[in-house]
Subunit: 135 residues, 2 copies
DNA sequence: CTCCATTCGTTGGTGCGGCCAACGATACGG
DNA sequence: CCGTATCGTTGGCCGCACCAACGAATGGAG
């Protein structure tokens, strides 16, 4: 079952993330900022498939850690423009490395060809169900 | 990413389960009881990979719904023997059908051969990471 | 037979991910 | 100008997974 495999995945990811003092939401926000550039929080939510309220919490925490900056949007005073900082990019790099390691661990029993096949199949599933292929 | 696909899976499963007025923990307990017969709660936890405390809650709820019965074990007074009832078996059947439907939905974009491949690959992952292949 | 370690059920708490409702403030279209 | 929509924010809920601690009971070592 997919959920079964996902449990192990989750556990590995959680391990690595807590070691890096971060959570999934943090990574998603940072990744979205790096990929699309500064954005409003609502945009971040849409891009990262997160609820607006969860974006608020994540951005606040990232701001406290100095990984992003919040500033009012002069063009639309409802919006906050969130920008990734230099430190944020470094953190993102760390988390990326964590994910790479985790993925290696997770896919350890599979050959390179099998990994490719698995990724392709999962990609098909995600795409079909309206997912955003986040690498 | 595996987690990505799992999200959709989770959502589908959750939908179906809430429609059937059940949760994942309930299904796991019922399935374990059906497969291995009456068992103590600690055994259920080991078989279903659940924490003892979560087993307590699940069994209590299943008992309220009349799907299982709790009775003291005369041979070991620390234990409660949990038994699945007729109604419980019916509920398990319903949930099994729900899962079948969900799986079809989830794997819709894949051919039969692809599904088989995916299942095989995931099975490999789960087994390698010490998982219990729960169908 | 007496301790000691272990097991069992139970209670209560933590954390993460995902979601919803409501709000005041702002923006925008008719 | 007024209604509608969007944005950030607060606060809450649920499900899954996990941990710590407890009293009661068991079982093995001495």
């Amino acid at each position: 079952m997919l959920s079964q495999a996902a449990v192990h995945s989750r556990r590995f990811v959680a391990e690595g993330f807590t070691a890096a003092d971060a959570r999934g939401y943090h990574y998603r926000v940072l990744a979205a900022l790096e990929e699309f550039g500064p954005a409003s929080q609502a945009d971040l939510g849409r891009r990262s498939r997160m609820d607006r309220s969860d974006v608020v919490a994540a951005v606040t925490e990232l701001e406290e850690q100095g990984f992003v900056e919040r500033s009012a949007d002069p063009a639309d005073r409802r919006r906050n423009v969130v920008t990734i900082t230099r430190a944020g990019r470094q953190q993102l790099g760390r988390l990326d490395r964590v994910l790479d390691t985790v993925q290696d661990e997770l896919l350890a029993p599979l050959s390179a060809a099998e990994r490719q096949t698995l990724v392709a199949l999962l990609g098909k599933l995600i795409e079909h169900h309206g997912g955003v292929p986040t690498s």
